[in-house]
Amino acid sequence: MKITTQSLCGTMVKEIAAISGENVAKCYQCGKCTAACPVNMAMDILPHQVLRFLQLGLVEAVLNCNTIWICASCFTCAGRCPRGVDLPGVMEALRAILLRKRGFSRFKAGDMPRVLNKGMPEQGIVSGFRKYTK
């Protein structure tokens, strides 16, 4: 059976493709991304499994996992993927759906003093706002 983005159930997978520019059907499940991932030990669904879930249309399960918030956008997986899958882009699209549409916000202005007091560089604070809030 040939899996195409079109044939995948639901509009959500298409939305992920529109936000990330990536087609999850490209992945052939070799697992290289998971092997490369420096934070895989803290993830509940492994990077290659995220793609498998999406290929099967199980979007809600992926939106509810901690993996998308643990991914550090380090690009190690994307650099090594034999199929050229932009997995960090897919992770970003999943976060974007929650932040844009479902009002998620995981880093608030009130969290600022806590990180500022520790000497966190502005780069880290701005990154936090960019990745965890709308």
Binding site: A72, C74, P88, P121, G124, Y132
Partner: protein, 274 residues
């Protein structure tokens, strides 16, 4: 040698030591770095969503301003470099986004990715040349065993960043050897430090930093150098989280070593005192 220079927010505040040492060294090397007049924050992370243009418009403004002067645009913070270089790549390769950005910004001249963005390390390697730099070294760091830490942002994604071999880079080690130091080879030098996860998940980052530091120590490092304020924070602050406040490996910006080797300044005492 004259270049446009984009500093970024963090170099004006928490990472002032990175900028000060780099600018001082550049002056001593006869390199003129002209800070752009109206730069804005690059946004710290490159927007991976392809359906919006707003997050990288500030980068496009800087890129276009550099093109007007005809100079290459030099960056120093690894994150700014990553964002500017990738934004430029998008402007060069994605016609649709490029048109949208131009329409929105209404720049006097259309910008289509014509500026060349180079990192300070590339400036030393490709514009000045490491052999010319070697001749300017007054106080070689002979006998010092230094581990270079690349992190993610300079190297990846390799096809766009084109900084060095992403899996086996050598620019920082070549730089260290140019200064007379011994470059320590260790497997974690291109690993992720945990970046902004330390905003929310300090424990995870502390574990990642511990692996990097221990790997460098096992291979004989006496200090570690980086080029990114957030790597610097994680390596320095979160290192102490797993060692009960003890600093087992001092952390420096690569420019601090440059400054020292050029005979301009000694490194800060407190970090050396272990």
């Amino acid at each position: 040698m004259r270049f446009s220079y984009y500093p970024g927010c963090t170099l004006k505040t928490t990472a002032a030591v990175l900028e000060n040492s780099a600018l001082k060294a550049a002056r001593a090397l006869g390199i003129e770095l002209l800070e752009q007049e109206e730069w804005q924050c690059c946004g710290a992370v490159f927007p991976l969503t392809v359906d919006e243009i707003a997050p990288f418009l500030s980068s496009v403004r800087s890129l276009a301003a550099a093109k007007d002067t005809g100079e290459k645009l030099v960056t120093l913070c690894a994150a700014c470099h990553h964002v500017l270089k990738r934004a430029n790549h998008v402007m060069k390769t994605d016609k649709d986004v490029c048109n949208k950005a131009n329409n929105y910004l209404q720049l006097p001249d259309q910008y289509r990715g014509g500026t060349e963005v180079i990192h300070y390390l590339e400036l030393l390697r490709d514009e000045l040349g490491f052999s010319a730099l070697a001749q300017k070294v007054k106080k070689p760091l002979t006998g010092q065993k230094i581990a270079a830490f690349y992190g993610c942002l300079l190297l990846r994604p390799p096809a766009v960043m084109q900084f060095d071999n992403a899996e086996n880079p050598s620019i920082m080690e070549d730089f260290l050897r140019t200064l007379g130091a011994t470059a320590v080879d260790y497997p974690y030098r291109t690993e992720c430090c945990g970046v902004y996860l330390s905003v929310q998940n300090e424990e995870i980052v502390a574990g990642m930093v511990e692996k990097i530091i221990n790997s460098a120590l096992r291979h004989g490092a006496e200090a570690i150098v980086d080029a990114c304020p957030l790597c610097h924070y994680n390596l320095l602050e979160l290192q102490q989280k797993t060692t009960h406040g003890k600093l087992t490996l001092p952390v420096y910006y690569f420019t601090e070593l440059l400054e020292e080797a050029l005979g301009l300044e000694d490194r800060a005492e407190e970090k050396m005192a272990i």
